[in-house]
Symmetry: C2
Subunit: 349 residues, 2 copies
C-alpha cells in the first residue's frame, strides 16, 4: 500500500493480520523516536507487542545482530504465528526481512519503510540480507513481506541529501523500465530539486508500481528483474572500495548510472537519450567520485555478488525505459572507459 | 535416490548437475576420513572443489559455524551458481542446508546422509536449521535439496546404538503414516535387532518413500506432515532438559513414542494397537529416562518450537499407520499421565 495516507488506509486490514498474534517491531532508537508513533494504532489488535532495537546504518546488517534478535524473540515467546514489522530505512528492512525469514523457518512480516530509497527500492521484491566481512548482502534469503506500507509522511523528516539519493533510484527504475515514469520525473524535476514533498508523494506510488510489476514477472531474478541492477555494477564496487564512507547507496548508483550510459554509448546508444538521462541526473547532485585507483575499482567489480563465473554483468540503457543485460563486455573496453570516466570527473572537480 | 548402489546409480546425472560449477563439500574430519572417498568420482566434473570442515555433533549447528562457512565460501569465490554437498549425519545436513539456503539468497545443494537417522528423516523435506541458546533448530529455512543420495553402504560403519536410534524414527514414520511399513518392521524385527545391514537396506528406501509422500503433500507443514512429529513433543523436551547429554535424538523420540501411546490410550486407543507398538519398540532398547522433575519436563514442552500460542500440540496414534493432531489436551491430564509415566519407568529400572 503506497501513497498519501497509506498508513491510515491500511489500518483495518493490518489489524486483522495482527489480531491474536505476538508482534515484534524492529527499529532504531532514532527512527522509533521520529516515527514510532504511527505504529501505535496499527498494532493495538496484537495479542502482545515486543519492541526490538537495532543500531542505525549498515552496522545493523550483521549476523551478530540477527542472532541477538533471534535470541530475544525466542526468549519473548516468539512462535511460528508471530509477526514482525520493520520500521526504518533499507538496512532495517533488509535485516528485518532476513530475521523473519529464518526465525522458526519463516514468519510473516511487514515493511514500513521510512526513507525514500527503502520505499521505492529495498522494501519491494522480498530480498533480505546481512553483510559478511567479505562483502555486503552475501547472506540472505528471498522472503516476501505480507505488507509494504509506503506513506510519504515520514519522508518529511528526511535530510535533502537522503531524498536526492532516493530519487536517483527512481531515475534508475524509470531509465531501465518505464518511459512514462521518466517523463514524469523530467516534468517535475524543477520541483523535486530540493526534495519537495508534493511531487514525491505522486512519484513514489508510481515508481513502486513499476518495480512491483517487474518483480512479479521475475521473482527469481533470472531475467527482466536484473534490469533493476542498472547502475549497480559500478555503484556497489564504489561503495565497497570506499568502505561505505563518503557515498550513500543512491549516490553510488548515480555514478553507476552515468558510467552505464557512457558504456552504452560505445555500444551505439543514441546521443539524445544519453543527454536526456544525464540532464535528469544532474538535477540530483552527488558528492565527487572517491579517489580510487582503476585497479581497485576493477577488483571490487569482480568481487560483486552479481559477478558470475563468466565475469561481471552490466546493465546498459538501450533507450529511455529499456535496457539490456550484457555479460560479454571485453575487460579492456571496461578498463579503458573507466579510465576516461575517472579522468573526466577529476578534471571537473 | 535411495538403496543399495544409490551412489553409483546417481553418478551420471549428478556429474551433469555439477559440470562447470564450483562445488563446496561440507563434512566433519571423521566422516570425511570414513566416507569422503565416495565423493571423489561424483564430483570430478565440477569446475572446482572446495572442502569445508565442521565439528562433529550438535556443536556444528551454530550461527558462528554458519558465518565462518559463508566467509570461507565467499573468499573461495562462491557464486550463485555454486553447489554445496553435505556429507554426514543430521547435524551436518541441517547446517549444510541452512548455509546453502542463505548464501547469496540460496544456492542448490545435495544431501549425502551417512547415518540411518539422517537417511530416513533429516535429509528429506527441506528443513534446515541451526541452534540458539534458547533452543534447538530455532533458526532455519525450508530449502529443498536437489539431491538426496541415501546409500546403505556408509551405514556399515555406524555403531549399533546409532542404527537402533535411526530405526526408532522408522517405527515413528510407520506408526504415524504407513501400516505396511509397520508390518515389514515387525516381520524383520528379529534380524534388525543388532543392526544387521541386509534388512535395513530393504527398509530404508521404503521409509524414505513414505516420508517423501507425506512431505510432498504438505510442504509447508500445515497439515498431514505434522504427523511426523509423533513422539517429538516429549522427545524434544527430554533432549533439551537433559542438555543433549544422555539420549540420542532417536532414543528421545523412542520415549516420546511410548508416552504418546499412553496418552492415546486415555483417548480410547485400542489396547492391541498399544501392545503391538510397544512390542516393536522393545526391539530397539534405549537408555533409561533421564532423572528429571515433571515440572522441568513440562516447562521444556511449553518452550518447544512447535508449541503455539494455544499450548503444546500432541500427535497421538489412532491405529497402526494413522495418527491425529491434538492441541486441546488439558494440562492436568498431561501432567497426571507424565507422572504415571515417569513413576512406572523408574520402578522398572
Amino acid at each position: 500500500m503506497a501513497g498519501q495516507g497509506a498508513l491510515a488506509a491500511a489500518r483495518a486490514e493490518f489489524a486483522e493480520w495482527l489480531r491474536g498474534h505476538r508482534v515484534f517491531t524492529l527499529s532504531s532508537a532514532e527512527v522509533r523516536a521520529l516515527h514510532g508513533g504511527c505504529l501505535g494504532p496499527l498494532v493495538d489488535s496484537a495479542f502482545d507487542r515486543v519492541d526490538l532495537e537495532v543500531p542505525d546504518g549498515e552496522a545493523a546488517k550483521s549476523l551478530r545482530q540477527a542472532e541477538r534478535l533471534w535470541e530475544e524473540m525466542a526468549s519473548a515467546g516468539g512462535t511460528r504465528d508471530s509477526r514482525l514489522i520493520s520500521l526504518g530505512g533499507g538496512t532495517v528492512g533488509d535485516l528485518g526481512g532476513f530475521v523473519a525469514s529464518a526465525f522458526l523457518r519463516g514468519i510473516e512480516y511487514a515493511q514500513v519503510p521510512t526513507t525514500l530509497l527503502a520505499q521505492v527500492d529495498a522494501s519491494i521484491g522480498g530480498k533480505t540480507g546481512v553483510d559478511l566481512e567479505a562483502g555486503k548482502n552475501l547472506v540472505g534469503t528471498l522472503h516476501h513481506p505480507r505488507w509494504v506500507i509506503a506513506d510519504p509522511m515520514p519522508l518529511k523528516t528526511l535530510p535533502v541529501r537522503q531524498v536526492r539519493a532516493g530519487l536517483i533510484e527512481v531515475v534508475k527504475i524509470a531509465l531501465a523500465c518505464d518511459c512514462g515514469l521518466f517523463e514524469a520525473l523530467e516534468r517535475s524535476s524543477d520541483r523535486l530539486d530540493g526534495g519537495a514533498p508534493g511531487p514525491i508523494a505522486e512519484l513514489v506510488p508510481r515508481a513502486i508500481e513499476v518495480k512491483i510489476g517487474v518483480v512479479e514477472e521475475d521473482v527469481e531474478e533470472r531475467g527482466h528483474r536484473r534490469l533493476l541492477n542498472l547502475g549497480h555494477t559500478l555503484g556497489h564496487a564504489l561503495e565497497a572500495a570506499d568502505g561505505y564512507r563518503t557515498l550513500l547507496h543512491g549516490e553510488a548508483v548515480g555514478w553507476g548510472l552515468r558510467f552505464a550510459l557512457q558504456l552504452a554509448l560505445v555500444r551505439g546508444l543514441d546521443d539524445d537519450v544519453h543527454r536526456r538521462a544525464l540532464a535528469l541526473l544532474a538535477r540530483f547532485p552527488v558528492p565527487p567520485l572517491p579517489p580510487l585507483s582503476i585497479d581497485t575499482v576493477l577488483e571490487f567489480i569482480g568481487r560483486d555478488k552479481k559477478a558470475r563465473e563468466e565475469g561481471p554483468v552490466w546493465v546498459l540503457p538501450l533507450e529511455i525505459g529499456a535496457a539490456e543485460i550484457v555479460s560479454d563486455l571485453p575487460a579492456d573496453v571496461v578498463r579503458h572507459e573507466l579510465e576516461r570516466f575517472f579522468a573526466a570527473e577529476s578534471e571537473k572537480s
